[in-house]
């Protein structure tokens, strides 16, 4: 989950003073923010990906104001008209195949210029938007520019020169480079995001009326439009992407954040090739207070529910005794339906104030027959003197096939594992048990271990078959086939229905020739037993003799 650094001084200022650090820290979790840690001058919090408006301290302060009773209802979002007819972005169909959507808004800074602290927040918001709804900049990428460096109208179109188009990007150290070299990974951001448009015919480009490059989305802005803290008076936020909803969602978060930061918003007209000027106004939704009360287990009236919603920073009012009318700001796109409003009611009510109530007791439930049978098997093995071991069901080819000398033809691998130790679903428990013995050669013998758990096999039509297996190993100087068969017989007797056991001579890659048997439970082949051969022991580096059995259990887990 994404993390925001909150500084006590900034937060205190945004809340207008009067709220101590401890009070704030105690309130944050009730907004759904997890406290990750406390630093010298602040707090690190994690926010949920459905609330990108919490990616800055402006957004978090807005939420806190509601729960602390400083301000209720939504923050009014006023968007003035464009500064002139020319304040517009026009998209061309030449980008439709690669990155069709664009949107934008302008905002002038309070106090005459963008502060360094505010800019830091916006950049952190921008990064979080890229990672979240931006889906790594593919679905949406945000650019922030100094308005004074731009001449309207802007154009969003394929670069006429294609990959040969030249400009000075933000991260080339002032050098002019070609779009192609950026896309191919010649710059840092190009290496990270170039692949998004690498395969496309067109090179998407935002240029201004003077023909100068503004941005090569979704990779990098031009150096000349960079926002300078303390100097930039007005910013342009543009978002491009492959999905209109993601693009407009991202813009709405940026607009709401700028609004919270005291910026004056101004509309930018967007048109062309299926694009539109972004709607930034709220939607109206209705909530049945009685439903909310029934779901939460609280006594709710429309008036109470509306008051809770206002504390969650939504505009709401009662329409009669049951119905609440709620205006959901554009940036709260996580609110999709009435159940989302129920959650907002709970948060506004204060989750800490909801007293848990134990519902009337029903009769006791039951563990599944499979779980109960597995428990009986485990207890039988413990009674026989075997200690339970647990191994991951995702094992490695080295343990399962290499060391065990088994045929890997039917292995079930996973795609792109992060760790070399977890690459193949186990089809047998014995290799894992031998691996366990090999890691305990310094412990006193005898060592008697068992494992009872799931294993996987390829069934007809390549469908994975899951089954429960039991494996036991006994390792000490005088262990023998007889010892392990005795344990196997006792375990078989503990199975549901007490399956009849039979063993017949059969070779096995792990077991010594002549001391290796196939195990039949109730007449069906279920596994094998034997004395582990010298070769296998050598590969597992086990010096003491080992006898073992493994069977598939007639248990459905």
């Amino acid at each position: 989950m994404p993390v925001v650094e909150l500084r006590h001084d900034r937060l205190g200022e945004l809340l207008g003073g009067g709220h101590g650090e401890d009070e704030i820290a105690a309130t944050l979790p009730y907004l759904g923010l997890d406290i990750e840690g406390r630093t010298g001058g602040g707090i690190r919090v994690e926010y949920s990906p459905n609330r990108p408006d919490y990616s800055t301290d402006y957004g978090i302060a807005a939420g806190l104001r509601g729960l602390l009773g400083i301000k209720e209802g939504a923050e009014p979002l006023r968007v003035r008209g464009p500064a002139g007819k020319e304040q517009a972005v026009r998209a061309r169909s030449s980008v439709s195949a690669v990155r069709p959507f664009v949107t934008a808004v302008a905002a002038s800074a309070p106090g005459g210029a963008v502060g360094a602290g505010a800019l830091e927040q916006f950049i952190s918001m921008q990064e979080d938007l890229h990672a979240g709804i931006g889906r790594g900049r593919r679905a949406a990428a945000v650019g922030i520019h100094d308005m004074e460096a731009l001449r309207f109208p802007l154009e969003y179109a394929a670069a006429p020169g294609g990959r040969a188009h030249r400009f000075v990007p933000l991260d080339s150290g002032g050098a002019e480079v070609t779009a192609g070299s950026i896309i191919d990974g010649g710059t840092k951001t190009g290496a990270a995001y170039g692949r998004i448009i690498r395969g496309a015919r067109a090179v998407p480009l935002i240029t201004d009326a003077a023909g100068l490059t503004v941005s090569l989305p979704p990779i990098i802005n031009a150096a000349r439009t960079a926002v300078a803290p303390g100097r930039t008076k007005e910013v342009l936020v543009e978002v491009t992407g492959t999905r209109r909803r993601a693009v407009e969602d991202a813009l709405s978060v940026a607009a709401a954040t700028l609004n919270e930061a005291g910026f004056a918003l101004r509309r930018v007209k967007v048109s062309g090739a299926g694009n539109r000027t972004p709607p930034l106004g709220p939607r109206t939704m209705r909530l049945d207070a009685k439903t909310a009360g029934k779901v939460l287990g609280l006594d709710m009236t429309a008036r109470r529910a509306a008051a809770c919603l206002r504390r969650s920073r939504l505009d709401a009012r009662a329409r009669g005794g049951r119905i609440v009318e709620c205006a959901v700001p554009r940036h709260r796109f996580d609110v999709r339906g009435p159940m989302d409003l129920v959650e907002e009611v709970a948060i506004g009510y204060g989750v800490g104030s909801i007293e848990p109530a134990v519902p009337p007791c029903r009769g006791p439930g039951r563990r599944s027959p499979g779980a109960a049978a597995m428990r009986a098997v485990r207890l039988a093995m413990v009674g026989l003197g075997y200690t339970e071991a647990l191994s991951p069901t995702l094992s490695s080819a080295r343990v399962l096939y290499g060391n065990a000398g088994r045929d890997p033809a039917a292995a079930i691998p996973v795609a792109d594992p992060q760790s070399g130790e977890h690459t193949v679903l186990r089809d047998s428990l014995l290799p894992g048990m031998l691996d366990a013995l090999s890691r305990n050669v310094h412990e006193p013998y005898p060592q008697r271990l068992f494992e009872a758990g799931p294993a996987f096999a390829r069934g007809p039509g390549n469908r994975v078959r899951e089954g429960a297996r039991l494996c036991a190993v006994s390792s000490h100087a005088r262990t023998s086939y007889t010892e392990i068969k005795a344990a196997l017989a006792a375990a078989a007797a503990a199975l549901p229905g007490g399956a009849a056991l039979k063993t017949v001579a059969q070779e096995h890659p792990v077991f010594e020739k002549g001391r290796s048997a196939a195990v039949l439970l109730g007449g069906a082949e279920a596994g094998s037993a034997g004395e582990v051969g010298g070769e296998a022991r050598k590969r597992f580096r086990i010096r003491e003799p080992v006898a073992a059995f493994e069977v598939e259990l007639p248990i459905n887990i």
């Binding site: 759904g32 003197g385 991951p392 691996d435 887990i557």
Partner: protein, 479 residues
């Protein structure tokens, strides 16, 4: 009652009763025991309070380099006497033969009166024999012989006890490099008054009941299994019936049915294990045609066009147990108010660390309809934590993709002195229940079991549960 004595102890006692205050070497010689047996026996007697050991600072003496040379070739004066023999020998000749030892040799021989010095034939000085050394030999020779035969340094006390050796030590210590004194401790063993009676007691049939026995290890179930069974027990006691499902699921049930968009980061390969090698999920079909169509439609409505059935078909290792419960609710006729739970291994494609595993156990309970409320679920959870011995809990709002509202349980961990996130809970979103035809409010709650087991067993590194460290598995349990 008399303590039972080992044969070694009896022999040491009898040796000390003959002469109390012997050191280990002396006891060993007298009792016919090896140094190791003497050391162990004295240790046992000390523990039983039958003997005490007094250590005192002392010194040990051994030959220095000159002493060792003298042991081989004789003292320089003995060599000089040999060269002089019966006749007169020139002083220069002796000096050349004896080298730097010539001076001390001449001095000692003259002091002893064994030689006379006079005019030589060629004008130089010459040495001629006088009377022979006495029967005791030359001072120092006896000690050199004694030390030369000894295997190691000899305690000073042993030397001082012999007048002749003591005199030799005095003589040799005046000359550099003949003997070396090293600081040592002498340990002398004294019997307690009770020892005689103990040794006299009959030994027949009695054994040392106080001696340590070899370790035995109880076989047992795994600590994590114990916690899993405890959780099962608690869910059952709260009225939940266990259902089971497969670990390999089609994406449809793991993601799509739970309204996780097909381009959601959690579905990417670096987070989720997809099966390779053409392996497919168990079961003859992914889901009923009606469910597939309805879920696809819900996705297109919620996330935009382009939902792909092919993506839903891919086999994954389930990333949570919710897929099992939701599938059960969708495919079975469940009575109103039913309480169900599923428990099993879930998988995340990440590198294991002290707090995360690529594979762990998860439990999830659902309450389907029957007037279930969030507040009621909070009550059930509180009961649950009390049952498993984790008292203090509180609830914080949180976010889960398929529930709304969503809460997480925070449990106070006394050892860490902080609130730790444990289970999550929430109400399944209508986007999940509606297309699957699940009626009523469905409350879900659950979470990872390893994290709970860590707190219960005092385990700081979650990897320990799957390390199969035999010492830990058969060692003492925390609680």
């Amino acid at each position: 009652m008399q303590p039972v004595l080992h044969d070694i102890e009896r022999r040491i006692i009898s040796s000390l009763r003959a002469r109390d205050g012997q050191d280990e070497g002396q006891i060993g010689k007298a009792a016919g025991l090896s140094p190791d047996q003497v050391r162990r026996g004295i240790q046992w007697l000390k523990l039983k309070g039958l003997a005490r050991v007094e250590e005192e600072p002392s010194a040990a003496v051994s030959l220095g380099p000159n002493g060792a040379a003298a042991g081989e070739h004789g003292l320089p004066e003995r060599q000089l006497l040999g060269m002089v023999g019966r006749g007169r020998v020139s002083m220069d000749g002796l000096a050349a033969k004896l080298g730097p030892a010539f001076g001390p040799a001449i001095g000692a021989a003259r002091r002893g009166g064994w030689i006379a010095v006079g005019e030589g034939k060629g004008g130089g000085r010459a040495v001629s024999p006088a009377r022979a050394p006495g029967a005791g030999g030359i001072p120092g020779e006896a000690l050199i012989r004694f030390l030369g035969k000894a295997r190691g340094p000899i305690p000073l006390g042993t030397i001082v006890a012999d007048a002749r050796l003591a005199a030799d030590l005095g003589a040799l210590e005046k000359r550099p490099g003949y003997v070396v004194r090293k600081a040592a401790r002498s340990a002398r063993v004294f019997l307690d008054s009770k020892a005689a009676a103990a040794a006299a007691a009959p030994a027949a049939g009695a054994i040392d009941v106080e001696a340590d026995a070899p370790p035995a290890y109880p076989a047992r179930t795994h600590p994590l299994t114990d916690t899993i069974e405890e959780v099962r027990e608690a869910f059952a006691a709260l009225g939940f019936d266990e259902i089971s499902g497969t670990a390999v699921q089609p994406c449809f049930w793991n993601f799509d049915a739970l309204f996780t968009p097909q381009d959601h980061p959690a579905r990417e390969m670096q987070d989720t294990f997809y099966l390779g090698g053409g392996a497919r999920a168990p079961g003859s079909r992914m889901a009923s045609a009606g469910h597939v169509a309805a879920v696809g439609k819900e996705h297109e409505r919620g996330w935009g066009p382009g939902w792909k059935k092919g993506m839903a078909r891919r086999a994954v290792l389930r990333t949570h147990t919710t897929c099992v419960t939701v599938r059960h609710l969708a495919e079975n006729d469940v009575e109103d108010g039913a309480r169900l739970f599923s428990l099993g291994r879930v998988y995340r494609n990440e590198k294991a660390s002290y707090k995360h595993l690529a594979e762990f156990n998860q439990v999830e309970g659902v309450v389907a309809g029957g007037g279930a409320t969030l507040r009621g679920l909070m009550g059930i959870q509180k009961e649950f934590y009390e049952m498993v011995g984790m008292g203090e809990v509180k609830f914080w709002p949180t976010y889960f993709p398929y529930t709304e509202p969503s809460l997480q349980t925070m449990v106070y961990n006394k050892k860490a002195g902080k609130w730790v996130e444990l289970f999550g809970m929430g109400i399944l979103r209508p986007e999940v229940t509606r297309p699957l035809g699940i009626r009523g409010t469905v409350l879900a709650w659950g979470g990872g079991i390893e994290r709970m087991a860590m707190a219960k067993h005092g385990v700081g590194d979650v990897r320990r549960f799957y390390a199969n460290d035999v010492k830990w598995l058969r060692g003492p349990r925390c609680r």
